[in-house]
């Protein structure tokens, strides 16, 4: 509705200042200007034409005047009658356009009023209208002539007056017509349009207002305009209402979503293809700490699994499917370790949704359950199943971590302790022996209670027989110490150990165990309290140690 307040260019702005903005004023002014221009044009043309016509008319009148007096002039000339000539001249001079009269008879001048020489600027035939005068009794004979001098000033004045009159009439007519046209245009066009414009300006779409349509205007263009504008307004109102409802529904939905996001236990986040976080929910921050903020790289937060995270994102992008992994991560600021489950789903070309759940508790429970399954409840050492699993893992095909030794240990005289002092004393002995094993071996070694009083120790990274013997000796020594079984009593047991070395290839847990067993039986046969080494599958070397 508003015209722009600034128009480019100073001259245009200056000009725009002169032209009124209102359509009513502008049309009226236009009509007025047009009328003035037309009036001026017509006036100029009319005055030019009127002046020329008036000039001709006056000249013709002089001619007629001459004709009127011709017969009398003829008599005066015929008679050489100066008095008569003077009479005629006096009569003619009563016409204001006649500036002078000259009547001659032959060579004689009967009468002349002309004293001054005619203005040389004026046309001769207009200045002096001369006519030959014939005898009243003989049309053949010329008896004199009459010359009429025409007053230029008078002709000018008369024609000017006439043309002024014409201009005045024309101006009046043009003014009336212009006023009438302006009034009609105002009544029929500009006022209704201005009314519509003003109404539109005040209109508030929300209120469902409409522009009023005047009766009797329904059929014309302005009525059509109003009807169309009203149709547009109602459509706009409908669209606005629909949009408002949609926005409301969307707001509710968004609020619900936000609630879900905020209250969820799972960290929900959006990533770009580089793994940079674009947005995340509070749960994510709760899981990973305050450094988990938009802009950070997920790979850094899930250290040391940056490469894994990148690979998962890439896989998800390539397959357009969800990819997940359980990762044990180092929490920032030394908060220890935690287990998270990461699931990445592709949202768009370079956008991913990631879910990060804290599964530390579950993992711990799992680990505990696994521990429970693989540990001997009495001694806390690996049970047979756990030891077998370790052994199988270490001897898995294609895996070779270097030389490895297996000690098969059998307690000596344990059965008599059990029989003499009961199972409770036996259990105490077994627990004490387990501590001895733990003290004797390196941290990287595995100890298993294979059943009853049988134990096995796996020594990975053992390079020479001597070191293995050293460990075996330290075990035998430790076990041989008296063991307190309560009530001030103590017992002594011993250990017989079979040592076998794993072959770099083609070794299976069963064969290694079997060779260690053979070596252990040899140690028993050789008198107990000693270790026997079988270095290769073929040869079994006997090594005895003092009990």
């Amino acid at each position: 509705m508003k015209s722009s307040p600034e128009s480019p260019g100073a001259p245009r702005r200056h000009l725009a200042g002169l032209v009124p903005r209102s359509i009513v004023a502008r049309t009226s002014l236009s009509i007025l200007l047009l009328a003035v221009a037309m009036g001026l044009l017509f006036s100029i043309m009319a005055s030019w034409r009127v002046r020329a016509a008036e000039y001709d008319r006056l000249v013709a009148r002089v001619d007629e005047l001459t004709s009127t007096v011709e017969s009398t002039v003829s008599i005066a000339c015929f008679l050489n009658d100066a008095t008569l000539a003077k009479e005629i001249a006096a009569g003619l001079m009563k016409n204001r356009i006649i500036a002078g009269v000259r009547i001659t008879s032959g060579k004689n001048s009967l009468y002349s009023t002309v004293t001054a020489t005619p203005d040389p600027h004026h046309r001769a035939e207009i200045d002096a209208l001369t006519r030959k005068i014939h005898s009243p009794f003989d049309q053949q004979s010329v008896v004199g002539e009459i010359t009429m001098y025409v007053s230029h000033a008078e002709i000018e004045a008369q024609s000017a007056a006439y043309s002024r009159y014409t201009i005045w009439i024309l101006s009046l007519q043009v003014s009336i017509v212009a006023a009438a046209v302006a009034a009609l245009v105002y009544l029929l066009v500009t006022r209704p349009i201005k009314g519509i414009s003003d109404e539109l300006h005040r209109l508030e779409i929300r209120s469902g207002m409409q522009i009023t349509l005047k009766a009797g205007r329904r059929k014309d263009e302005i009525g059509q305009l109003v009807v169309d504008v009203n149709a547009l307004i109602s459509r706009l109102t409908d669209v606005l209402a629909t949009e408002r409802d949609l926005r409301l529904a969307q707001e509710i939905s968004e609020r619900r979503m936000r609630l879900v996001l905020e209250k969820a236990d799972t960290g929900i986040l959006v990533l770009d293809k580089n793994g940079a976080i674009q947005s995340c929910n509070p749960a994510f921050v709760r899981i990973l700490g305050p450094t988990a903020a938009p802009g950070a790289l997920l790979g850094d937060l899930l250290a040391p699994h940056g490469l894994t995270v990148a690979a998962i994102i890439e896989e998800s992008r390539a397959s357009n499917e969800a990819r997940d992994a359980d990762l044990e991560i180092d929490l920032a600021a030394g908060r220890g370790k935690a287990w998270v489950e990461l699931s990445v789903n592709s949202l768009g070309p370079n956008l991913f949704q990631a879910l990060v759940s804290d599964i530390t508790d579950r993992k711990r429970a799992e680990t505990a359950a696994r521990e429970l399954a693989s540990r001997d409840t009495l001694t806390g050492l690996l049970n047979r199943r756990g030891f077998d699993a370790v052994l199988a893992n270490r001897l898995a095909p294609g895996r070779y971590d270097g030389p490895m030794a297996l000690l098969q240990v059998d307690l000596d005289h344990f059965k008599s302790v059990n029989d003499s002092y009961g199972h409770e004393a036996g259990d105490r002995v077994l627990r004490e022996v387990a501590r001895v094993f733990e003290r004797a071996v390196r941290r990287s070694d595995f100890i298993g209670r294979m059943g009853g009083d049988e134990f096995a120790v796996l020594l990975p990274g053992i390079e020479c027989v001597a070191r293995a013997k050293e460990i075996a000796s330290s075990i035998i020594a430790g076990v041989s110490e008296p063991i307190d079984i309560g009530d001030g009593r103590s017992v002594r047991v011993g250990a017989s150990i079979g040592v076998a070395f794993a072959e770099p290839a083609m070794e299976t847990p069963a064969s290694l165990l079997r060779r260690a067993d053979i070596a252990m039986y040899r140690a028993k046969q050789e008198g107990r309290g000693r270790a026997c080494v079988v270095e290769s599958p073929d040869a079994v070397e006997s090594a005895s140690d003092a009990a």
Binding site: T72, I75, F78, L79, N80, D81, A82, T83, L84, E87, P136, F137, D138
Partner: protein, 144 residues
């Protein structure tokens, strides 16, 4: 035959015929002492209509009109300038104001005119040829 005789009588009684009969030749006469023998038609017009009041001999001229109801005046001006008697009267009426010229001297009949011409060497008049006496001189014959 009787019918033809009747027609002839009617023709003889008609005005045209009588005019022709009356239109005996008009002549312009002057006093023998006037010193002129002939006058042209234009000279006669000039003298009678007031342009010149002098005879070619230099003597002043006194034109004489035979006034109504005699027919000479009408016939004279009709033949001379193709104007009716009324037109000639109107002509002179216009000139009354200026007073420079005056109409010809009016006499009641041809006889008086002839006597005036006999007695005045300046006089000039027109009469039927039949009225001409031996004491006047014919200077112009005006033929229809």
């Amino acid at each position: 035959m009787r019918r033809i005789a009747c027609l002839l009588v009617l023709v003889a009684l008609s005005p045209g015929f009588s005019n022709a009969n009356d239109a005996a030749e008009l002549v312009v006469i002057v006093n023998p002492d006037s010193g002129i023998d002939r006058l042209t038609r234009d000279e006669v017009i000039d003298i009678f209509l007031g342009r010149y009041r002098k005879l070619p001999s230099g003597r002043a001229a006194l034109p004489i009109d035979v006034s109504e109801p005699s027919t000479e005046r009408a016939r004279f001006y009709q033949l001379l300038v193709k104007k009716s008697s009324a037109e000639i009267s109107s002509y002179w009426a216009r000139l009354v104001f200026s007073g420079q010229t005056s109409p010809p001297f009016q006499v009641p009949d041809a006889k008086t005119a002839v006597e005036l011409v006999q007695s005045n060497p300046n006089a000039i008049a027109y009469v039927d040829r039949a009225s001409v006496t031996g004491h006047v001189k014919v200077v112009l014959e005006i033929k229809p």
